[in-house]
Subunit: 352 residues, 2 copies
């Protein structure tokens, strides 16, 4: 079942049986090199996570590494969920957005949009992103993008992205530091607080919004804020993610405040997992309520209660939670007739 | 699962969830009248097989005969597989290509493309095909054809087509006589050798490529070679067949060698059944490796191991193996979420 975090169910119900393009936005930030900040990948190779996630989603194979990306405690990537839905009820189309990857995904035929964007630096030292440029690239992409399907599911794979999301929203003066989730069950609070503190230290009092974003954010968030504004409500978009996608919306909100524009959000919604919705270390609902505009937000009533696989039970205990558009993928699956049992069985089949 | 015979999986994975036109190319050759050469149909009525296959695929009925086409040993036509997939996960569109049928399929609404092509004579006596004309008809059809879907699955039903395929490739000087499959588990080697020998006897030393094809090939192979070249990579095509479709590719290859042209094959692939891939009497992989261009070739990991029906178990023993695009149909089914159990059950339902 797809359920509301905020708003009404109609947006989601309208998408029942509709065709979706799954778009995966990918970027690397050197923020991952801060020890203990994220568990989204293989230690020492976390920068490969978005690359491997894309390869696995598209082809079922990990071409840039010989083994499936797991966290130190053995939590497998949420890409398994996104791929499982695709095998059972395929997205009509998968497209990749390379928003600054260290290693390009090795896939043929699947459209990979490139924008000449480089991985960003660590926010602890100033991310040094040309945020206006990235934003304008997103805006232009949204203005020209033509979707062949009924809607877009926009997911992301950005290791340490929840930390850059928190820094972003704090830099934009939202009172929100307690609201961001983490790939860990128990957020590494001290390391994260320290990282965000270091990030905010670089923000100057005369920085405009893009100058701030350039220091403390990541390419995915900045680009997608532009992308959403560029699409200008012409196609339905499900932001498939948790607090990182909420941060994208908060960037949009800040830009609208600054520029004083009107923005129709009737074709925009967010969908995340039950693990994010029920996470007591973060608060997606309150983050969304910080927006000046109204938006429907959903979560998918899916967990691994039907599984006894120890790696999957970790999700139910609060590890990993979201990523690679897992919440939006589950929504698509359930809206197209898949059951919790179907999806669970398919995910289990990947793990052997 | 769809697996590679040659190449990478990406082409197939890209087609996951995509919409397909199933195109069935049909022709008769009097070569079938050579006793013992083929078991693709009802003895004495084998010329009706492509007609009946089309009727069954489109309507579920056999209008030109009151009973389902079976081989003497009771192996049902692979059209059952192609139809089963269509019932469970419909192709967006089915079109028929009448490339010289003795009896036109009795179906309304389904587009049947006609080209004024007559059935061909026996290759043992010189097939007397105006091969340049048939090729040019295929070329023109490819140049003007507009596909409404994401790709074409191109199947065939041509009784005794594996023998004409072998004669074709031998006449074109490929060293390949051991590589062609047969509708029989045990190829009728002597009859077939004799037939091909008789066919090649008619080839003259000064025959150009079309003169050779006109004597020893069949309409389906010549037309489809033109069709593929005419499409010129503008739409993805899955050649749904075994060694007959490999022969189509070898004709294309010979024409390119003769004409010295460049040809982009990135939108072209072949997909066949596991029964062909594992057949120890033929060798599709080696046939494809004879090509000067690269092409991905796939097989579908489907068999009737979940069935106890004696007629279906014959497939697993090596009878029939392929035809009516069964391999491509299975690929389409599996890429759209059908399971082996789903398809097996549906095929069984036709047999009662």
């Amino acid at each position: 079942m797809v359920k509301n975090i905020i708003g009404k169910i109609d947006f989601a119900e309208f998408l029942r049986g509709k065709k979706a393009t799954f778009m995966l936005s990918l970027s690397n930030t050197q923020t991952v090199n801060i020890a203990g900040l994220t568990q989204a990948g293989i230690p020492g190779k976390i920068h490969l996570t978005p690359t491997l996630d894309s390869e696995f989603l598209c082809t079922g194979e990990l071409r840039s590494l010989g083994e499936i990306a797991t966290t130190p405690s053995g939590v497998p990537t949420p890409a398994l969920i996104t791929r499982a839905v695709h095998l059972l009820k395929p997205y009509s189309n998968i497209e990749l957005l390379d928003l600054g990857l260290e290693v390009s995904p090795k896939v043929d035929y699947f459209k990979t949009h490139t924008f000449g964007i480089s991985p960003s630096k660590s926010i602890a030292l100033d991310a040094k992103i040309d945020a206006l440029d990235i934003f304008q690239k997103g805006l232009a992409f949204g203005q020209t993008y033509e979707c062949q399907d009924d809607y877009i599911i926009l997911g992301e794979s950005v290791p340490s992205g929840t930390t850059t999301a928190r820094a972003t929203c704090e830099a934009l003066d939202y009172d929100c530091k307690e609201f961001f989730s983490s790939s860990f069950k128990n957020s590494p609070t001290t390391i994260r607080d320290e990282t965000v503190k270091n990030a905010l230290y670089h923000v100057r009092s005369d920085d405009d919004i893009f100058a701030k974003l350039g220091r403390v954010s990541d390419n995915m968030q900045i680009f997608n804020a532009g992308f959403i504004l560029g699409l200008n409500n012409k196609i339905k978009v499900v932001l498939a993610g948790g607090t990182q996608m909420a941060s994208v919306l908060l960037i949009v909100n800040s830009i609208l405040r600054t520029m004083g524009g009107e923005f129709d959000t009737s074709n925009l919604a967010l969908c995340t997992t039950k693990w994010i919705k029920e996470d007591d270390k973060s608060d997606i609902k309150t983050l969304i309520e910080l927006l000046d505009f109204k938006i429907d937000a959903f979560y998918v009533d899916f967990d691994f209660s039907l599984s006894t696989h120890p790696a999957l039970k970790l999700y139910d205990e609060g590890e990993a939670k979201e990523g690679v558009g897992a919440g939006g993928a589950l929504m698509y699956g359930l809206l197209n007739g898949l059951s919790k049992a179907d999806i669970t069985k398919q995910v289990e089949s990947f793990l052997g």
